[in-house]
Symmetry: C2
Subunit: 224 residues, 2 copies
DNA sequence: ATAATACTCGAACATGCGTTCTGCGTCAAG
DNA sequence: CTTGACGCAGAACGCATGTTCGAGTATTAT
């Protein structure tokens, strides 16, 4: 018996480690007895004792009375993964598909998993993904097959310098550009500095469908 | 009663969806009774009945006799997230950092989380990540700040058409290019078709540090 | 020395929860 | 019509699993 009542004891650490390992291995949390077995604690009450402490320390969360109702606290309750619905494809000559009004439900097949650690912690609903079709957005450093994660937003919330997806009805054109509001309308600046910006006059309509927050490219055996 | 014994029925789908949602929300699987409640099945035996079917179909895996012993079959039991060590930065004028010999251990702070669903299911060790510094790799559609996920590999396993990170000692140059072995040496082709390839002669040394499998760009308020 | 606190154990208890059995209605094939 | 497979309900059963209690042993403070 060395330590007393300060910080994490040896058993605390062992329990935490086991909780994590078990969850990852089995897909669900262990029972109190399983924890005891693994950490050489022969009594379920002792395990319960430590579990209580860990809960007080904020290390874990417990659902009382229900079996296997333990989970690590730091992993967000919704899982570390965020499922983002893929609304469709983004093509140069077609309007941008926007997710259906029912934003919360979507099929598992048409979604991508993104680690929460990548995304700003605030509103993570409003996100949707598009698959890029064609090479028309190379100037935005986005290629055919890339997946762009977008945050649903209108023209009002868009700030200068944001990269946005815009639909120009009068030109039948969809494009990804840096957005700048100017006196005489809007300037849509390609990411590639050597290319000329698109100037959209005040009278021309322009629909901002979303702000690009992330681009993902899977490089498979891309034979040129 | 419409359907008979073919494919996924309405209840199968509902159960599957609930399993997934519950697991993501609570961090552990539901009980049979909870499933029944959610899917409007009033008897636990019926839920069990469907669970058995789903198991036969290979949609779920069950651990008999233990509570909450159900999990989706497709989600990898080792966790859906893969932690990939960030070995360092990749700069045009410097050699590529390679992960230390101890490939398996690394700090949490210097790693990125990638959903397994993005990566080829086979060998997922050997992966490491680099942060791109500078704009020298724009021709590879990779910009300053991007994160490239690489698979550690040598020249032997590299196939034509792979995008690789190479270090050219004689030129003090690091670059990302599509790789082609040719009679007279190697051709390193930029992703941008308008740019000229680099030809590396047989006598010149060339070190392939890895194959690019994924590129991730987080678009924050990038003010041009 | 005595008391208080932290830690441990084992066992009993109460319920959570998977399993199994009986029975009922529907529908298609013989 | 009978038979059997299928979908369903409800209840009983029994093991799995969280909770609680009484008690014992250190370690530290008074």
């Amino acid at each position: 018996m060395v330590r007393k009542s300060k910080g994490l004891g040896d058993r605390h650490k062992k329990i935490l480690a086991f909780l994590k390992a078990y969850q990852e291995r089995e897909g669900y949390p262990p029972t109190i007895r399983e924890i005891g077995e693994e950490t050489d604690i022969s009594s379920t009450s002792v395990v319960n004792y430590y579990l209580d402490q860990l809960e007080k320390m904020g290390k874990i969360e417990r659902q009382r009375k229900i079996s296997r109702g333990v989970r690590l606290a730091n992993v967000s309750p919704l899982g570390e993964m965020l499922k983002i619905p893929v609304a469709g494809r983004i093509v140069a000559g077609e309007p941008i598909p926007v997710p259906s009004s029912d934003f919360s439900y979507f099929d598992a097949e048409t979604s991508v998993d993104i680690a929460r650690s990548f995304l700003p912690s605030d509103k993570n609903d409003e996100l949707f993904a598009l698959e890029v079709e064609g090479e028309s957005m190379i100037d935005a450093m986005v290629n055919d097959g890339d997946i762009v994660i977008m945050k649903s937003t209108g023209a009002e919330q868009t700030k200068n310098g944001d990269m946005v997806a815009v639909w120009l009805p009068e030109r039948d054109e969809t494009t990804l550009k840096y957005f700048f509001k100017e006196k005489e309308g809007y300037r849509l600046q390609p990411a590639n500095p050597t290319m000329e910006p698109i100037i959209v006059g005040k009278e021309e309509s322009l629909e901002i469908k979303g702000k690009v927050v992330m681009v993902i490219r899977q490089v498979q055996k891309t034979v040129i």
